[in-house]
């Protein structure tokens, strides 16, 4: 067992874990933050995307120990003072989900995209979502939601 400390959604946390503990297990099982999902568990589907020091990463393919000392943001950390993040609000408004399983990863991935590219084209959004799979929507409303969020965030 080893002690791992990091900041998750602005809160400093420290736990004893096994070396093999994945970041997604740390978040879900040790911290109870079950908004980050495990879909494929093979770094393909993107349901587990979180931000590690501001960059999106697949939490199923990262050891908790590798995130030592980092700032991690999960879907639970996006809303501020009870108000949805513009990307969350846009997913709701544009119905960018059906079953909702992939949604936390989609939203976290989209937030990273908009940080790097505040006004992405439809093609750029679709290319960015390479690592996020959705089996319900056909992506159309997800892309629409992300572009709407970009407009909303530009004010």
């Amino acid at each position: 067992m080893l002690a791992v400390s990091m900041t998750v959604n602005g809160r400093k946390v420290s736990r004893e874990v096994e070396g093999r503990t994945l970041l997604v297990e740390f978040l879900r099982e040790h911290l109870g933050l079950t908004g980050t999902h495990v879909g494929c568990d093979t770094s393909q589907c993107g349901a587990c995307v979180v931000h590690v020091d501001g960059a999106s990463a697949k939490a199923c393919t990262l050891l908790a120990a590798q995130a030592e000392g980092t700032e991690v943001t999960t879907i639970e950390g996006l809303a501020k003072n009870g108000e949805l993040h513009p990307v969350q609000a846009a997913f709701k408004e544009h119905h960018g989900l059906q079953c909702g399983f992939c949604t936390p990863g989609m939203v976290m991935s989209a937030v990273d995209l908009l940080k790097r590219n505040p006004d992405p084209s439809e093609t750029e959004v679709r290319e960015w979502l390479e690592g996020n799979l959705c089996r319900c929507t056909g992506y159309h409303n997800i892309v629409k939601a992300i572009r709407a969020a970009a407009r909303a965030m530009a004010g």
Binding site: T42, S43, V52, K58, T61, L62, L63
Partner: protein, 264 residues
Amino acid sequence: MYDFAYHRPGSLEEAERLLSGASDGALVAGGMTLIPALKQRLASPSDVIDLGGIAGLSGISEAGSTIVVGALTPHAAVASDAVVTARFPALAALAAEIGDPQVRNRGTLGGSIANNDPAADYPAAVLGLGATVRTNRREIAADDFFTGMFETALEDGEIVTAVSFPVPEKAGYAKFPNPASRYAVVGVLVSRGPAGTRVAVTGAGPCVFRSAEMEQALAGDFTAAALDAVTVAAEGLNSDIHASADYRAHLVGVMAKRAVAACG
């Protein structure tokens, strides 16, 4: 995944010591290959030594006619670096096509070449540009570095620290990506510069290799048309459910021409 002892050394010396002291030690950089391999129990090391805590292994610097990329530099950083995109767009484009954005945020140059997956992109860049691999012990020429499928010239305890790329006059990379995973079914990097005229092929064979015939053809006439006369033999190439050896041989020719065209 079986459990292991996790270590996070603060220096290369400490990493080397931990590696030599472990009964079966594995280094991890980004972990984009090792962690899936651990989950599938394809690898079950006694000790995992994380290079992420060692300062100075990440970053890109320009030194005259070379660009030095630290071993722990993630693909996303190479793809978006101002110096690389300006002086060496082929390398930026190659890095931008690896995996998906989250893989590019974590995966590293050093990890990719030390692993030497037959379908990885970076080995084509290192070999196709005549780069030099720097380790904690020495410098290794690209031509000597990749020795076989998942095999390199790295010795026990040797750790890649950086790769030094000579800036080419021209370079282009084209790959036929696997539709699901984006690895190179075939990828070809062509370049002309201080290291001569080079053509490196990844994905097609058990290990990245140079095509002497294509290099000869391009040395005289660096155009896609110059490659028309070159036929690629299927013998020894990979064959799997995604592509037969014959199809890969065909793709080598097509990707080489596209890579030359991409040089602009």
